[in-house]
Symmetry: C2
Subunit: 180 residues, 2 copies
């Protein structure tokens, strides 16, 4: 068994934490402006206590209609969804919503960059998977094929990003490899 370099392991952080750190780094260095969108919530009831802030007392999570992150890098529109899995041998496609796939297809059509960032949490491995690849395997699923990509399929059709310190997950550094 390979000895793990503990100094670069995710140490229990979520992928979202890691990407937020990375995006802050990019922003501070003037490399890109990329933000996570807020979680969509349907607000049903709000209380307005006197002399203090409004309190939301009833609200529900909504299915996201787009992806988690978007922004601008080198004049280009960037759009991606981040997903992590504890599974060691495959990446399940069921966590991705159909309207997210349509959204990313639209982005590509309009000249933007769209991709997934996948973390295999148990392996401490990170991949940037171009939308075109996702679409291929999504179609395989929709036409009755397997509901996941094998790790080997992910390895061969995406670019691996080695986690580091600053920035944590330097996904922008591999985007040129995804653009023909």
């Amino acid at each position: 068994k390979k000895k793990k370099d503990i100094s670069f392991s995710n140490r229990g952080k979520t992928l979202e934490d890691e990407l937020n750190e990375t995006n802050s780094f990019y922003l501070q260095r003037g490399l890109a402006v990329i933000h996570k969108k807020p979680v969509p919530v349907q607000i049903v009831r709000v209380e307005y206590p006197s002399r203090s802030a409004a309190v939301i007392r009833e609200a529900y999570f909504q299915a996201p209609s787009t992806t988690d992150y978007n922004g601008i890098w080198q004049g280009r529109y960037i759009d991606f969804e981040a997903k992590e899995t504890e599974i060691r041998t495959s990446f399940p496609l069921k966590n991705i919503h159909e309207h997210q796939v349509h959204h990313m297809a639209d982005i590509i059509r309009h000249g933007g960059l769209a991709f997934l960032i996948i973390r295999f949490s148990s392996l401490d491995r990170y991949f940037v998977l171009p939308f075109e690849t996702l679409e291929t395997y999504w179609k395989r699923m929709v036409t009755g094929g397997r509901k996941s990509m094998t790790l080997a399929e992910v390895e061969e059709s995406s670019v691996e990003v080695k986690p580091g310190a600053f920035p944590r997950i330097d996904y922008l550094s591999v985007l040129h490899q995804l653009m023909k």
Copy 2:
């Protein structure tokens, strides 16, 4: 007094409603992919009743760190904030947060398009104001000048959009005029 063309008045719709309709139109016609970001909310307590959806029982509104809308149009990154006012003679700058101004400045620096859409609700008039203009008047305010733009200043430094039916507020049609 000028007779108002009632068929194109806003009829009590919010500017957000009008822009969401407009963006749906753009999306369906394949003209642009632009979405409103969800309202940022800090979630404190969630209940998980058995056999039904999770309910958020305590949450608070957060100040937005970016703008309301972003997306892609003709390969370009688009970013804007929408504001309406009932005032007939000026547009108050106090509703715009300083970090939103910094955010839009960053977007311009990275090659994106950033602007405000302003509705004078009582006048049924709509303006697309380029970020550079906002920045000018923002600096006037910060250096001790007036805390608003006069209607005349808005008129002379932005492009007016006449409301219609489909799309409701065709702001994309004037963006070429904002780009040198």
